[in-house]
């Protein structure tokens, strides 16, 4: 039966995709027949979440192997889709095109960083950790370096990084649920959380894997369909990725024509929090090489250190499959990431070009205020105009928008039917849920497997271990939701911090664990704790008015943290005794792809 399911995967997900497209068509017909926008939004979110919950329930399991690593039988391509969903968070889906819209080239360092990191994953880490046969990332650290302190340090770094990340994701599910279901944010956060837990609680990694594949299909359709549709509707080209050069050039012309007028601080006070105007060039190089490269580098090294991504490659059937699977992951990510700049271009041009019917710059304030979509998004607190110079017409510097509006509002501005907006809401929900699931599972698994089972009670039976894992899942989920409900930080800022924390503490201990035989326990502990402490110190210092050095900002503090980590690890390793023969033999075995895993099948 189980073998059957794996063999039938293409068919199962083929039918699922067909069913989902059928659902979109039914909704489109229902819209024509008078179904309200609100009902469509609810139908989209409720229907998709119900499907994920169903998959989660069907994947329930009582085996440690299935709970922690999905039984190590997830085929390459499907693991690629699951990783892509795991990877692309609510921030990628909802906020990234917005970031490019506002900040242009300098922001696109994130695109390079969030894809280039996979080269490091494929070449430095994933195949070796798969060969190791671990359940979690601290499992590798704990076994390679030996000792509870090393294991525990890894759990600490993992928890700090993943928890920073997960609150942002629960926040995103809450935002979308509150808009689509029309309930207050404080409650919507918990609706989102319960949806997330439904996917992961019964089936662990197995449940999360199969829901993530389903979520990837929803989110990629929801992202690409509007981009292609808008591009065609605007007459910009039927395949936007290859055909928007004229539009990019036109934006450059308009920027020249309008100029970037700087607003007075007093004027900006009246602009609602979180909204921004266009102040940076779209395609021109607007950042110094170091600003661009340091951000990209931090994101790349962070990618290779984030445990929720790494543990996806523990689920493949072989070492070979783990390598290929990284390639597929990046291919599926590429489909969305290469579309985000296109969406930003289309969105910006449709708003600022006076020659287009949708363009609002140069219109009078009365005209803009009479537009339906402007009223809707102004009410949603995502758009704002103000006549600073009192001339009655809207200038580029007098138009403000929230970053989320680029993805959420552009379909409506371009005049697409509401069914597309419902689809986009479902896609955003899928993106945020899938990442949150992966993260909560990473934390709960690390604590249940590495702290509870390996350190506190090594004799615990499987049933008890899995019970502990599930209880932790719920506790961590609720803790995350409670912090998310307080709305302390923005979605994107905290995501970037998570990368910096992860690279500060884990990048070098992981990489050197495979590539440097001389690395020992003392060195690894110094590297993890020293790196994390140094990174955290730098962040706090810069946040509290410190000037920083070498152009390292609060978004790239991981560069400092990981440098300290590397130095600490090398110096301490060389000052202390080299690892024993058994450990050196273990490293040799990890480097050979064939043969048995280092850790037993069930441990």
């Amino acid at each position: 039966m189980k073998g059957n399911f794996i063999d039938n995967l293409p068919k199962v997900y083929g039918i699922y995709t067909g069913g989902f497209i059928g659902f979109i068509i039914i909704m489109a017909i229902a819209e024509q027949m008078g179904m309200t926008a609100k009902a469509i939004g609810i139908a989209f979110v409720a229907f998709t979440v119900f499907i994920y919950a169903l998959i989660g329930w069907l994947s329930r399991t009582a085996q440690a192997d299935a709970y922690y690593v999905a039984g190590r039988q997830v085929p390459t391509v499907f693991n690629g889709m699951a990783t892509a969903a795991d990877w692309m968070s609510g921030a990628s889906f909802v906020a990234m095109a917005g970031g490019i819209y506002f900040k242009g080239y300098g922001y696109m360092a994130l695109l390079v960083g969030w894809t280039g990191g996979y080269v490091l994953v494929a070449s430095l880490l994933a195949p070796y950790l798969r060969k190791f046969g671990c359940y979690t990332v601290p499992d590798f650290i704990g076994t390679r370096y030996g000792g509870n302190l090393a294991r525990f340090s890894a759990v600490v770094v993992l928890t700090v990084a993943s928890f920073t990340y997960v609150t942002a994701q629960i926040n995103a599910t809450g935002t979308i649920a509150s808009v689509a279901l029309d309930i207050p944010f404080q409650y919507a956060v918990y609706v989102g959380l319960i949806s997330i837990l439904l996917c992961s609680m019964l089936g662990g990694m197995r449940g999360v894997t199969w829901t993530q594949v389903a979520q990837y299909i929803v989110l990629i359709i929801a992202y690409l369909l509007p981009v292609f549709w808008i591009s065609n509707k605007m007459g910009a080209g039927f395949f936007p990725h290859f055909m928007l050069a004229d539009e990019v050039a036109r934006i450059g012309e308009l920027e020249q024509q309008f100029g970037f007028v700087k607003n007075a601080a007093a004027d900006l006070k009246s602009v609602p929090k979180g909204l921004a105007g266009i102040t940076k060039a779209h395609s021109a190089v607007n950042a110094t090489p170091w600003a661009f490269i340091s951000l990209a580098l931090a994101m790349m090294m962070g990618t290779a250190s984030l445990p929720h991504v790494m543990m996806r490659y523990f689920t493949t059937p072989s070492v070979k499959a783990a390598r290929k699977s990284v390639g597929w992951s990046l291919f599926f990510i590429f489909l969305l990431y290469s579309s985000a700049p296109m969406l930003a271009t289309l969105s910006k041009l449709s708003l600022i070009d006076p020659n287009l019917p949708t363009g609002i710059i140069g219109k009078t304030f009365a005209e803009v205020e009479a537009i339906d979509w402007y009223q809707n998004w102004n009410q949603a607190n995502l758009m704002f105009i103000s006549d600073f110079n009192g001339n009655g017409t809207l200038e580029l510097n007098e138009f403000f928008m929230g970053g989320k509006a680029v993805v959420l509002a552009t379909p409506e501005i371009a005049g697409l039917p509401y069914v597309i907006s419902g689809l986009v809401a479902a896609g955003g929900m899928a993106a945020a849920m899938s990442t949150a699931d992966g993260l909560i599972l990473a934390i709960a698994n690390a604590i249940s497997h590495d702290v509870y089972y390996k350190i506190i009670d090594p004799k615990a039976e499987t049933a008890k271990r899995l019970l502990v894992a599930r209880v932790l899942l719920v506790i961590i989920g609720f803790a995350g939701a409670t912090i998310a409900a307080m709305e302390i930080q923005g979605i994107l800022g905290s995501v970037i911090w998570a990368f910096d924390f992860a690279m500060s503490g884990l990048f070098f201990p992981l990489v050197l664990g495979v590539w440097w035989k001389r690395a020992n326990r003392q060195g690894a502990i110094a590297g993890m704790l020293g790196g994390l402490a140094a990174g955290t110190w730098y962040l706090v210092w810069v946040r509290t008015g410190g000037s920083g050095f070498l152009g390292i900002t609060q978004l790239t503090f991981g560069i400092f943290g990981s440098a300290v980590s590397l130095i600490a690890m090398v110096v301490v390793s060389l000052m202390t005794a080299e690892p024993d023969k058994a450990t050196q033999k273990m490293v040799d075995d990890v480097r050979v792809p064939s043969g048995k895993t280092i850790l037993g099948k069930s441990h």
Partner: protein, 86 residues
């Protein structure tokens, strides 16, 4: 040198080649971002702009598949490739 050492030697040189290509597309290009952006590149986009939104991303995808295939060849050469039924 034992079989295993030779295998690791080759694996390591593949890593260095892979990282060198990775360096060009993730860092090298952007050292000259301003200069390269003056020139029109693929599909009519400015070069640096094109690399940030498509070129480098696509290059990484191809690089990983190329790397995976080369590594498989190395594993086969030294008899370390995995049997499918393992």
């Amino acid at each position: 040198m034992s079989n295993q050492q030779k295998h690791w030697e080759k694996t390591r040189s593949l890593l260095f080649i892979t990282l060198a290509i990775w360096f060009v597309f993730s860092i090298g290009i952007f050292l000259f971002g301003a200069e390269m952006n003056e020139v029109t590149g693929p599909f009519g986009y400015p070069w640096t702009y094109w690399f940030t939104c498509q070129g480098s991303l696509g290059a990484f995808v191809i690089l990983i598949f190329w790397f995976a295939n080369r590594q498989e060849k190395i594993d086969e050469e030294f008899g370390f490739s995995e049997r499918e039924d393992e």
